[in-house]
Amino acid sequence: MLTVTLKVNGESRTASVPPETTLLRMLRDQLGLTGSKLGCDVGDCGACTVIVDGKPVNSCLMLAMQAEGREVLTIEGLATMDRVHPIQRAFEDCASLQCGFCGPGVIMSAKALLDEIPDPTIAQIRDALGGNLCRCTGYVKMIEAIQIAARSMRGEQMEANR
């Protein structure tokens, strides 16, 4: 058994896991963060996407021990007690999610994109979502929502900068 300590959603967390445990399994089974989903377990579908040290990652392809000492952001870390994240708000308003299973992964990919490119083109959005499979929605309303969230986040940034 290995002991892994890392920062998840801003909080220091520790778990004891068999060495072959993936980050995804540790998040879901040990840390009770079931928002990241298991869709294929081999990095094909993106349902397990989380952000590690600022980069979007298929957490099923990362060993828990590889995340030692790193900062991980999961879907559970986006909203606060006061409000949902603008991406989550836009997804809700645009009915971007249907069955919702791919949702957390898509939203994390979107967050990683908007953190790097606050004003993305549609092509850049499609590219950022390229590793997230969705069977229900055809991605159309997701792309719409990400554009709306981007505008909203830029507006807030301008407010904050004042």
Partner: protein, 488 residues
């Protein structure tokens, strides 16, 4: 054979992770559920949800917020105290007789709590129309995804490893893989003594020969479609548990819980009132989660072990062990006058019905009924057959045969348009259903808007009525002239 379960399972000195941490010095915290942000976040109700009248509003979905927060509870997100994990060993061979199953080594593995084979299932067959599907294959294997042995263990990994340790001896048969081969009467029955053609449907309207005689052109087309899978993002998942009164509760991704409950009651041999099925929000179905899969197996494993048992399909399981879309082989022959009016249509559909019937009867019926297209055709003959093969079971998938036949009849329609040098839009407008049209099965149709949809789409698209003039020279469709097939 002995039906008892190991009464004293050798459980490894396996200590749960929580306890491990408490034992190890220097680690102060037990992993608890993260303080999830729940409510009340911004209880702002979107306007559309507050409006009356409600119909027609672009109301947001109530589950939309939970989805976005990652709080929707799918079955794999659920755990229960003492829960075990089950894995199923699948045949891996397409057609075989099971000679022997040796589970001794698997049973002896530390952490394995129960093992199940087909003989342990009270009524080992089910199916929405033909009851030809086993819960676990016991004597015969009909496709490579057939489950043969189920194992419940304290972790998923141990269950999977134990499955590898099961020794199964097969007598292999040559699998029937080509539906056209299966259609031939001399091919040995996949489910002998039942015939390979397990259902047929016919539509006969008017006088087909007279229709062809009245036609200026007769065109043929041959079309085939492939086997595809639903690929719901969420794999099939089930948790089964009993209470002390012998009442079974099953959490499942099943889309048809009333039917599922009846199937569980019948395969387990218990009254319906003792079965409860709860289906949470499912991560996509598309037709693939409409019949029981592991539910009876998990119920029996749970009964044997006295603990809740969970099973989640792996992604490969989704492909090999759940239903798929019927591949179709479609032959069309249509007679038209030179102004584009269809006089007669004759067609044959052969559906690859896979290893078990599942929803094939419905698919066959729908495909046959829809096969002539949304067109007024006075003289029609349609025949449709579904045959067994030793491939993955084909069942319900979004459209039930309609996407396949639409591909055929609309490609065919464009071929006819090309031959007559007509605009694809015009030829459709000439033949399409209108209000009160009579369908191929003699039904008077109401609220018909085919032509409206054609015209609206054409306008939005900017069709311009230019016809099929792009692309330079073309390969022309097959036309039949004076009894022989001639490539025009």
């Amino acid at each position: 054979m002995d039906k008892t379960v190991d009464k004293n399972p050798k459980v490894a000195e396996k200590v749960s992770p929580a306890e491990t941490i408490l034992k190890e010095p220097g680690i102060l915290r037990e992993p608890v559920a993260a303080p999830l942000v729940t409510y009340p976040i911004e209880v702002v109700i979107p306007k559309a949800r507050q409006q009356t009248p409600a119909v027609g509003q672009r109301a947001t979905r109530l589950d939309g917020r939970l989805h976005g927060l990652g709080q929707t509870g799918y079955i794999d997100d659920m755990t229960f105290p003492g829960m075990l994990y089950a894995k199923i060993r699948r045949a891996g061979v397409a057609s075989a007789r099971i000679k022997s199953i040796d589970t001794k080594e698997a049973e002896a593995m530390p952490g394995v709590m129960a093992v199940l084979t087909g003989k342990d299932v009270p009524n080992n067959s089910f199916g929405p129309s033909i009851k030809d599907q086993p819960v676990l294959a016991y004597e015969r294997v009909f496709h490579a995804g057939d489950g043969v042995v189920a194992i419940a263990a304290v972790t998923e990994q141990i269950a999977a490893e134990a499955c590898e340790k099961v020794k199964i001896e097969y007598e292999l048969f040559t699998p029937v893989l080509d539906p056209l081969e299966s259609l031939k009467l001399e091919t040995p029955g996949v489910h002998a003594p039942s015939a390979n053609i397990y259902q047929k449907k016919f539509i006969k309207k008017g006088d087909i020969e007279k229709g062809f005689a009245m036609s200026d052109h007769i065109v043929e087309g041959h079309f085939t479609t492939q086997m595809v899978e639903h690929v719901p993002l969420e794999p099939h998942a089930t948790i089964a548990m009993w209470d002390a009164n012998g009442r079974l509760t099953v959490y499942s991704t099943l889309g048809r819980i009333t039917l599922g409950r009846a199937d569980l009651a019948s395969t387990l041999g218990i009254p319906i009132s003792r079965v409860r099925i709860v289906a949470t929000i499912v991560g996509g179905n598309f037709g693939g989660k409409n019949e029981i899969t592991t539910e009876p197996v998990l119920a029996l494993l749970s009964k044997k072990t006295g603990r809740p048992v969970k099973s989640v399909f792996t992604r490969p399981d989704e492909f090999i062990a759940s239903t798929t879309r019927h591949p179709l082989i479609m032959d069309y022959k249509t007679g038209v006058t030179k102004d584009g009016r269809i006089q007669a249509r004759k067609l044959r559909l052969v559906l690859d019905g896979g290893a078990y019937c599942s929803w094939s009867e419905t698919t066959l019926s729908k495909a046959c009924i829809l096969s002539a297209g949304p067109y007024n055709i006075e003289n029609l003959y349609a025949e449709a057959y579904v045959v067994y093969t030793n491939k993955t079971m084909t069942g319900a998938m979004r459209g039930f045969g309609a996407p396949q036949v639409c591909f055929a009849y609309e490609s065919h329609m464009d071929d006819i348009a090309t031959l007559l040098n007509m605009d694809p839009l015009d030829i459709r407008l000439i033949n399409a259903f209108h209000e009160g049209s009579i369908s191929p099965t003699g039904q008077k149709l109401q609220s018909v808007v085919v032509k409206e949809s054609l015209l609206r789409a054409a306008e939005r698209f900017g069709w311009n009525g230019k016809g099929s003039t792009a692309g330079g020279s073309k390969v022309l469709p097959k036309e039949i002239t004076s009894g022989t097939t001639v490539r025009v």
